[in-house]
Amino acid sequence: MRDNTLKYLLVMPAVVIVFATAIWPLIQSFRYSLFQGRLTRPGFPQGYIGFENYTWAVSQEPAFWNSVIVTGVYTLLTVALTVLLSLGLALLLVPGGRFRMSIQTILILPFAMSPALIGVSFRFMFNPEFGLFDAFFGLLIPPLADISWLSDPILAFAVCVMADVWGWIPFLTLVLIGGLAAVPSETIEAAQVDGAGGWQVFRDITLPQLAPVLAVVIILKSIFSLKTFDQVYMLTNGGPGTATQTLSHYVYFNGLKYGQLGYAASVAWLMVIPMIFLTYAYAKLVFRKAQQ
């Protein structure tokens, strides 16, 4: 067979699978979003209403805006905290040596943990009677000693953020260690010989060199934060009330618990919009790397 035909035949099965499992559901979800679409009634999707689900979500549903705010604040906090803490840890670990290498190996473990299990373990750690972190924070900040973390809206949100940051620090740290290792040590040494201090070296040499890797990490983390579902479901199930209800959780509840699939699909599609921008930025970074 000629390569010219073969090359298309080789990609065909993969393209078909990606189309069937990802592109088709995306389009189909959009179609649902234009219908009333009650899951429990026959003849789904029924009742074409154009973009009414979208306008309804934006103008009539405080719960939707609540989820937007929860997801937004959650994303900002988790991205900022994870990136800053990981960068710090990466800088501490990058010199290498046996001690630091063994710590790096340990770092793989939390990332192989299922996010659902991370949710469970943080509920365990913050149990008011026998949770280890709960006891620790109680010792550190006495007013928190008798508080049931997961029943307080703000503290429950804080626990969700902590669980997420805990789960992502290891991975981001490993990525940043990779990025830091690529910074040429000659440049750093030359700057030190010229009398540059630690902070100056970091700001003027390390940080600019690390920028592309940092960009990748920030975009990737933002995407995963915006999608968050598993931990929150296992940790608080959106509660107390709707204090930790992320957009994914809101879509899940409206679509599959209340059967309002059309409405849920419209909210899901509203989630896709920021993803398009982030994916575009990410793709640009990946392809720049590929061309080097």
């Binding site: 067979m1 699978i17 670990l93 365990f124 970074l285």
Partner: protein, 275 residues
């Protein structure tokens, strides 16, 4: 002298911070390991010394929890997903890596983009379709939706590995009269094998830990391990000793797999944006 003491001081501070950070990362995991061996009396106390028991592991596999069924489901679903995804992705990656295709960049960006689509968007139509054709609560259905998240990772990751294989041997074999398929089978596959195994393990971990699809698609027969965790939420509160035992069964095999492929973890997760 002064600078030497100061340097020594800073080195100690650094080591201390690293140790604390490592402790924060490891303590929740250790705590779960301990709780899994505690009796249900000991688990409700903050104590480090206790009489270890294997009763929790016996309990989670017995009625009514029957975690063994979920273990089988998880193993089958993750294995079949990988067995489909890796060969298909390998052929596509080879083509993307070695040829210039019309619309190649568009295809690759689309494949990358599907990875970033929220899972809730993808699962809604699958739920409706599976309900209509009777695939709800089946392992087949779960494999199909899992392919949606695994395929893009597999394609991008394997493409990275094949890009790294020098093309010379292939060209020499083609000149000597081998067909393209022979080249793929006899030259590319053996050289890419470590990469393919790494990608396979990586995809296995993703499929194994997958939660949202399994939560929505399954309810009894095809329930996987992560969803099985919900079994241990009882009326009187969470059964932490059993939850921990189940947690170990979920995470221990993944720890082993993650350690095997730890060198390639970063490349896989970032789909080649960071090597």
């Amino acid at each position: 002298m002064r600078t030497a003491t100061r340097r020594k001081f800073w080195r100690t501070v650094q080591t201390l911070i690293i140790v604390i950070a490592a402790a924060v990362m490891i303590v929740p995991i250790v705590w779960i390991f301990m709780a899994a061996f505690k009796s249900h009396v000991d688990v409700y106390q903050l104590k480090l010394l206790f009489k270890p028991t294997l009763a929790n592991f016996a309990a989670v596999f017995a009625e009514p929890y029957k975690l063994g069924d979920k273990l089988i489901n998880s193993t089958i679903v993750a294995t079949v997903t990988v067995v489909i995804a890796i060969p298909v992705a390998t052929l596509a990656s080879y083509s993307f890596s070695r040829f210039r295709l019309r619309g190649e960049t568009t295809m690759l960006v689309m494949i990358l983009a599907t990875q970033f689509v929220p899972a809730v968007v993808i699962v809604l139509p699958f739920f409706v379709m599976f309900r209509d054709v009777g695939l709800l609560d089946t392992r087949t259905g779960l494999v199909l939706v899992n392919l949606a998240i695994v395929m893009p990772f597999a394609i991008w990751m394997i493409k990275g590995f094949i890009d790294g294989i020098p093309i010379d041997t292939e060209e020499a074999a083609l000149v000597d009269g081998s067909t393209r398929m022979q080249v793929i089978r006899n030259i590319v596959l053996p050289m890419a094998a470590p990469g393919l195994i790494t990608s396979g393990i990586f995809c296995f971990i993703i499929a194994w830990n997958e939660f949202l699809f399994a939560l929505i698609i399954t309810n009894k027969d095809a329930v996987t391990l992560p969803i099985g965790l919900a079994l241990f939420k009882a009326e009187e509160g969470d059964l932490w000793n059993l939850l921990s035992a189940a947690g170990i069964i979920i995470m221990l095999p993944m720890f082993v797999l993650a350690l095997i492929i730890r060198k390639h973890f970063v490349q896989g997760m970032t789909m080649g944006a960071v090597r």
